[in-house]
């Protein structure tokens, strides 16, 4: 057994984990198709976890305690990053109650806010020219 054989699955898996994590927030979150269900990042995480698993198996097949300890640490960190991604990218379970939002039958608060050309748009003025009513859509926005 060549003790010096580099445990490439372990280290590629280790590097791929933060890449899978960061690439979501830096890039893939900008596009709805890869944001709402982060399938690209989930695939990257699956590959990373598979590599980490292969890497730790490799390390535990050697007699070296150091390799086993290092591999265990690397896998723990990789799994932690994966878990952090699942928590951060899936806010669906953490929507607030919003108990004080305007109820059906109440008046919606008036407001004036700038549009994409920095022109002020007022709700009351929009209502005045909207015999069929107004649909207000609040969305989370891109971060």
């Amino acid at each position: 057994m060549n003790e010096r054989r580099f445990n490439w699955p372990l280290w590629i898996g280790f590097i791929l984990t933060p890449v899978a994590f960061l690439s979501y927030f830096v890039f893939f979150a900008k596009f709805p198709i890869t944001r709402d269900v982060p399938w690209v990042n989930l695939i990257l995480f699956a590959i990373a976890v598979a590599l980490l698993f292969a890497g730790i198996r490799r390390a535990y097949a050697t007699p070296s305690t150091a390799r086993k300890v290092i591999a265990t640490l690397v896998v723990v960190i990789g799994v932690a990053i994966t878990a952090a991604f699942v928590y951060a990218a899936y806010p669906g379970s953490r929507v607030p109650q919003s108990a004080s939002a305007p109820a059906i039958g109440s008046h919606a608060p008036d407001f004036t806010l700038p549009d994409t050309n920095n022109q002020p748009v007022s709700l009351s003025q929009t209502l005045a020219s909207a015999p069929k009513g107004v649909l207000l859509v609040f969305y989370r926005g891109y971060w």
Binding site: V95, F111, T116, G133, L135, L136, R140
Partner: protein
Amino acid sequence: MRVIAISVDTPADSRNLAQKAHYTYPILSDVDTKVIDRYGITHKGAGMGGHDVARPAEFLLDRNGVVRWRNLTEDLRVRARPEDMLAAARKL
């Protein structure tokens, strides 16, 4: 029926979004969440870097500004069903 969209995005970011997605309705910027707070729909710290954002919400208002339908889904993966909103809109 008119549509107004609101988020914490700046006018520049919203303009990008509007152009890419070919939106034709106004997208308004509530960067400091003043209006979002007034509507009680703030999601504190949920934006990147801990920024406050709006939780997704829709309100259908009649011409007097009275709320006739609203959608405050607990599960972000369940989007508002257009039929429900359109049924409410037809009654206006």
